[in-house]
């Protein structure tokens, strides 16, 4: 017990130290008021979207609806800026001040569940019909659930593709690898573009894993062996993975992509600086505003093992230290009603996790015949969850470094071997994350 206490103190100090170092000067919004997620029948809820007023308002609306729908429980919202949200949660966990309910980025769910931040959820039938990629599971238990998801896709001008003699692919017959390569070569040959494809290589952080590991998976590789999640050997450095890496580097050497893309991909496409933009459903609204009917939404390419996109966005869960789990569960169940989920999805401009009539009434664009239907279809058909293992944060940063080095010209095989060694050593250090 004593050891545990000093361990907590240690972790708290480390967290404080680590946060203070790079973010010195950042205002300390992390100061949590109250004990462990409120007392009695009033509970606290944390969300990352202080910087997104529309989404925050939608969340707040659910909370006030819940508070007025019954008189037993009371939920209070605390919003954090996204940039420092994870740090705040880690620091709060170390000092035992986590709220009852909080949202988190999907790939963090297994890590936080493993660290005992989260408690498993028992939501019963509320999860029926939920988009599968919005359910955060680990070790066979549900720990989090999201109201929406996003989908990767490519965008181009129909006129540009047709002029270069390129077939506009559909969700049922996406481009194959050969077709994609030929299309890029054809666009390059026109001489209009320094680099016809914008892969978004100027992005940082989680984007690299989110955007490029599905390409790796479509080549037949993966971030880790998904049978037992104990080693990346063979998955991340096998022949398929090396093919993926060689292809990625080839894009740079052939001048098909910029090693570092422009800061504003949407603007580059609109201004004809690039021909095809690799982005996500969130880019659809601004692009259709500027390109109108000429905008083509291109589903992910099939590199051999089927088209793939990453699944999972922000999801809600309940903490282990929550003193009133009944209240938290009641709130989560309440919030999963289609009209509430859809209202958040609409506010965030994302794919609603439910396609029930009530949700479609709020945003018909994701329903049959709607302009955004293709994203819902891509998500339902091709979404592959990022490996649901507590090792994910480590895997993701390791993969990002490896991919950046490969694009910069490092040897594919030895770079991937090194990444595998790092990942395997980390899993061993953590006793297999069991």
């Amino acid at each position: 017990m004593k050891f545990h206490k000093s361990r907590r103190l240690l972790t708290a100090s480390i967290a404080a130290m680590v946060i203070a170092a790079p973010l010195a000067g950042c205002s300390g919004t992390a100061s949590a008021s109250g004990g462990s997620g409120g007392s009695g029948n009033s509970i606290t809820l944390w969300t990352h979207n202080a910087g997104n007023p529309a989404e925050l308002a939608a969340d707040q609306k659910i909370v006030s609806a819940f508070n007025s729908s019954q008189s037993k429980y009371k939920v209070t919202v605390q919003a954090f800026p996204q940039a420092s949200y994870n740090q705040s949660v880690v620091a709060a966990a170390a000092s035992g001040k986590l709220p009852c309910v909080l949202d988190m980025d999907a790939p963090n769910v297994p890590n936080w569940a493993w660290a005992k931040y989260l408690a498993p959820l028992d939501l019963g039938t509320s999860l029926k019909g939920q988009l599968p990629s919005t359910i955060g599971k680990w070790n066979g238990k549900v720990y989090a659930v999201g109201y929406y998801d996003v989908a990767l896709a490519m965008f181009a001008r129909k006129s540009v593709l047709t002029a270069a003699g390129i077939r506009i692919p559909t969700i049922d017959t996406p481009w194959t690898q050969d077709e994609f390569n030929q299309s890029l070569a054809a666009l390059k040959k026109t001489g209009k573009w320094a680099a016809p494809l914008d892969l978004g290589t100027s992005g940082t952080g989680e984007w690299w894993t989110y955007a490029y590991s599905p390409l790796l998976q479509s080549f037949g590789g993966d971030l880790i062996n998904r049978t037992d999640y104990q080693s990346a050997d063979g998955a991340l450095n096998g022949a398929n993975a090396v093919n993926w890496a060689t292809w990625m580097r080839g894009l740079v050497t052939q001048g098909l992509i910029a090693q570092k893309s422009g800061a504003d991909a949407n603007a580059d496409l609109t201004n004809n600086k690039t021909a095809i933009e690799y982005s996500g459903s969130w880019a659809a609204a601004p692009l259709s505003k500027t390109l109108g009917k000429d905008l083509a939404v291109i589903p992910p390419v099939n590199f051999g093992s089927g088209p793939k996109i990453g699944g999972g966005s922000w999801e809600w869960g309940m903490t282990n230290t929550c003193e009133n789990k009944a209240a938290a569960t009641a709130y989560l169940k309440f919030s999963l009603q289609p009209q509430y989920q859809a209202s958040v999805a609409v506010a965030a401009g994302t794919i609603p996790a439910t396609s029930s009539p009530a949700a479609l009434k709020l945003d018909p664009s994701y329903g049959p015949g709607g302009s955004n239907e293709i994203f819902a279809q891509i998500s339902r058909k091709y979404a592959e969850l990022r490996p649901p293992t507590p090792a994910y944060p480590f895997i993701s940063t390791t993969f990002t470094t490896a991919a950046q080095n490969i694009l910069a010209g490092a040897d594919p095989k030895s770079t991937l071997d090194q990444a595998v060694r790092g990942i395997d050593a980390n899993i061993k250090t953590n006793n297999g994350y069991k």
């Binding site: 480390i14 950046q404 910069a408 250090t429």
Partner: protein
């Protein structure tokens, strides 16, 4: 020491009057209490944010602590250090850090001295130039890094300038995406940002040199170089030590520019020890390993500072 000195002087002539020294002592004690009270806030903050984390890092480096983990912490001896000394990224980061310091210390120190001498003249408009040179210092490093990030782009301001000035003969490289130019690019920008600060320190040093020395020198008919070499340079002895130590420590802890502009890339060409520590400790959650890196870094800074202190010591 302060307490002993006056009482000894006091007791020597008058042995019969023991009371005054005691009074003095009491007064002194009161004074030192006040002094203690006054340094307390600073000491407390130093302890909280420097000593405690440093001690923690020292202990954690020998454990298997993770940032997020349900497992208890256990001591693992030298495992982290063995892993560290086999890590090619760490060696690369160390080399990059030393490379950065080896260039920045003389270049930034020299350029700052040059600027200081330039703005030390008594002509109109010097305070304007002082302000201009000092402006980058008061601008946040993150902001400066963002601006230079745009300037260093393939078709950014710097390449555009090179292109125009050479009448289109030379096309600049993709500065930050080329392993050969990324570090020099960061060095140039860091020197530009930091030079104003050390200019001010040199300037204060220059102004402590008595003007009659310069006057005497010019009466003797010395050249400008001789005046610098034999009057100015010896007069800057203490300032020199200060500038040297501050630039070195600042250079060895290179982080912000790398974090904003290159994230250690391409191909680890700009990875530094501090960046490596933050990356492994926070992004990869390996607290103990990052502590080991910090510990080695601490030892490194200590050694460098000790050598510098030895070289610039007061020769009795």
């Amino acid at each position: 020491m302060v307490l002993i000195h006056p009482s000894r002087a006091e007791t020597a002539p008058s042995v019969k009057k023991p009371s005054p020294p005691r009074k003095v002592n009491r007064g002194r004690r009161k004074e030192s209490l006040t002094a203690l009270g006054m340094v307390a806030p600073a000491v407390l903050l130093l302890a909280l944010f420097i000593f405690v984390p440093a001690a923690l890092a020292f202990v954690l480096a020998f454990t298997n602590a993770q940032l997020i983990s349900p497992n208890p912490i256990g001591f693992v001896g030298l495992t982290n250090f063995i892993q560290l000394f086999q890590d090619p990224v760490f060696y690369r980061s160390l080399l990059n850090t030393l490379y950065f310091a080896a260039v920045v210390v003389p270049v930034q120190g020299g350029a700052a001295l040059g600027l200081a001498i330039l703005v030390n003249t008594k002509t109109r408009g010097t305070s304007f130039f002082r302000t201009v040179y000092f402006l980058p210092v008061v601008t946040s490093m993150v902001v400066v890094s963002m601006l230079w990030l745009f300037m260093y782009q393939q078709n950014g301001l710097i390449n555009e300038l090179i292109h125009r000035l050479t009448l289109g003969l030379v096309t600049g490289p993709d500065w930050l995406n080329n392993p050969a130019t990324s570090m020099p690019a960061i060095i140039l920008m860091s020197v530009w940002q930091g030079v104003g600060f050390h200019m001010v320190i040199w300037l204060s040093g220059l102004q402590t040199i008595a003007p009659d020395l310069h006057e005497a020198a010019s009466l003797d008919g010395v050249s400008a170089w001789q005046r610098f070499r034999f009057v100015t340079w010896p007069g800057l002895r203490n300032t020199r030590a200060l500038v040297l130590v501050t630039i070195t420590i600042q250079a060895l802890s290179l982080f912000t520019q790398v974090s904003v502009m290159t994230q250690g890339g391409p191909l680890y060409s700009t990875s530094t020890v501090v960046y490596d520590a933050v990356q492994t400790g926070y992004q990869q959650q390996q607290t103990s390993y990052a502590s080991a890196i910090s510990l080695v870094f601490f030892a490194l800074v200590l050694i460098v500072a000790a050598i510098q202190r030895f070289l610039t010591r007061e020769k009795a």
